[in-house]
Amino acid sequence: MSDPADIHAYLAELEDIPGTRVYTATRARQGYHLNQFAMSLMKPENRAAWKADEASYLDQWAMSTEQKQAVLARDYNRLLDLGGNIYFLAKVFSTDGLSFLQAVSTMSGMSVEDYQAMMNAGGRSPVGLRSIREPR
C-alpha cells in the first residue's frame, strides 16, 4: 500500500491510467455545478423544463461555457475532462432514454453494436491499458 501520508504520490498515480479520469477532488471541484445540474434532472418537473428548452435550463447553473456546450453536444468524454462524474452524467443520458451501455459505448469510440459484441466476448482486456508511463 502506498504511504497514506504521501498524498502527492497517491494523486499522481491516479492520473497514470490510460483513457481514465479518476474522480478526484480537483475534478469534483471543477465539475460541481455541472454535476449538480445533472442531479437536478432526477425531478420530473425539472426534466420537463430541460426538455422544453435545454439552453435556457443550463443558463440557470453556474457552469462554464465549455461545460454547457459539451452537455448540449452530449460529448461525454469532454464532460469527464471538465469535471463531470459518470453517475451524475447518467441523469442526462437517462433523460435522453439511453442505457448505461449505449451511453458508455459513445465514450469508447465504438459503435453500440461493436461495443456490445466486445462485452459479450468477455469485455476489454486490461493488457497494455494498465499504465501510461509503462505500458503493460
Binding site: M1, A28, M42, G122
Partner: protein
C-alpha cells in the same frame, strides 16, 4: 444476543433490476446470471435472516455533489426506492431496524469510526438490486435492512484496510446487541467494470476470481490491495469491491464458502457472487 451468521457478496448492476422489473430474468442474456443466484434464493428462504446490514454505494441518488459521507448508516424506520431518472423501481419499501442501527452507529463512533447518521433517504439500485437477486419479487422484503452507504465515487475513497476494520467493528457492535437476531452482512458492487472513457468495457476475470478466492479461508491479504491496483486491473468502477471487504471483515478470522458464481457480461460489468459463513 444478535449474531452475524453469514456474509453475501454481490454485484448490483442496475440492468439486473430492469430485468427483474420487466420479467426478463429467463431471457437468454439474463438466465445465466440469475441461474447463479437460485441456490442463494433457496438458502435465504431457509435461513430467514431478521436483519440485513447492506453495504452499498449511492450513485448520485440520495447524496448529490454537496455532501459526501465516507461511511453513512441509515437509522430510519423506512427507506423508499429512489427515482434515478426513469421513475422509482416498483419494489417494496425497505423497512429499517432503527434499534439495531442506532446501536451499531453508537458502537462504531465509540470505536472511533465517525459515522454519518442518516434518518431519511431514498435507496437506489445499489441497495435494491441485491435484495431482488437474493429474495426475488415478494410483496414485502422478508428481512429488515440497515443501509450502510460507502463513498466509492469521490477520491480518496476509504482504503481496503479501513473497510476491513469497519467490518470488524460492525461485527463487535452486532455481538453486543442484546436482542436475539439472525443478522447477515452483504457487501455489494463490482466486479471489474469501467463506465467511462476509451478504456470503457474493461473486464478482468482472472483478477476478479483471485479477489473472490482471497475472501475465503483465513487470508487477510485483500485488505492491503491499494486503490491503484483496483483501478489499473479492474477499471475505474471496480473500486466498488472495497465494499466486499467490510462484509469480509465482519465475518471474523476465517470463512467457509457456501456458494460462488461469476459471469461476464451484464451490461458493462462482470457479475460476482459469494456466500460465506464465519468458520
Amino acid at each position: 444476543m444478535a449474531r452475524i451468521t453469514a456474509g453475501v457478496g454481490s454485484s448490483h448492476v442496475p440492468l439486473l433490476g430492469v430485468a427483474v422489473d420487466q420479467g426478463k430474468t429467463q431471457d437468454a442474456y439474463f438466465a445465466p446470471i440469475f441461474g447463479g443466484y437460485e441456490w442463494t434464493r433457496r438458502w435465504e428462504a431457509e435461513q430467514k435472516p431478521d436483519v440485513i446490514l447492506l453495504v452499498y454505494n449511492d450513485h448520485a441518488s440520495a447524496f448529490d455533489a454537496n455532501i459526501i459521507p465516507t461511511f453513512a448508516i441509515g437509522t430510519g424506520e423506512r427507506f423508499k426506492p429512489a427515482d434515478e431518472g426513469w421513475g422509482p423501481r416498483p419494489v417494496p419499501d425497505v423497512i429499517g431496524h432503527p434499534d439495531l442501527a442506532w446501536h451499531i452507529a453508537q458502537s462504531l463512533i465509540l470505536g472511533e469510526f465517525d459515522m454519518t447518521i442518516i434518518n431519511e433517504m431514498d435507496v437506489d439500485h445499489g441497495l435494491t438490486v441485491p435484495l431482488s437477486m437474493m429474495f426475488g419479487t415478494p410483496a414485502q422484503w422478508p428481512a429488515r435492512v440497515i443501509p450502510l452507504a460507502i463513498n466509492v465515487v469521490t477520491y480518496p475513497v476509504p482504503s481496503g484496510n479501513r473497510c476491513w476494520l469497519l467490518g470488524e467493528a460492525i461485527g463487535r457492535a452486532v455481538a453486543s446487541f442484546p436482542e436475539d437476531l439472525n443478522v447477515q452482512i452483504w457487501g455489494t458492487g463490482g466486479m471489474s467494470h469501467q463506465l467511462q472513457g476509451s478504456r470503457a468495457g474493461l473486464i478482468n476475470a482472472e483478477w476478479d476470481n483471485r479477489f473472490m478466492d482471497s475472501l475465503i479461508g483465513d487470508s487477510d491479504a485483500a485488505r492491503r490491495i491499494p486503490h491503484i491496483e483496483y483501478l489499473r486491473e479492474t477499471g475505474s468502477e471496480g473500486i466498488e469491491m472495497v465494499m466486499w471487504l467490510i462484509m469480509r471483515g465482519a465475518l471474523g478470522a476465517r470463512t467457509r464458502l457456501l456458494h460462488r458464481h461469476y459471469h461476464v457480461p451484464c451490461s458493462n460489468t462482470a457479475i460476482g457472487h459469494l456466500v460465506l459463513q464465519p468458520d
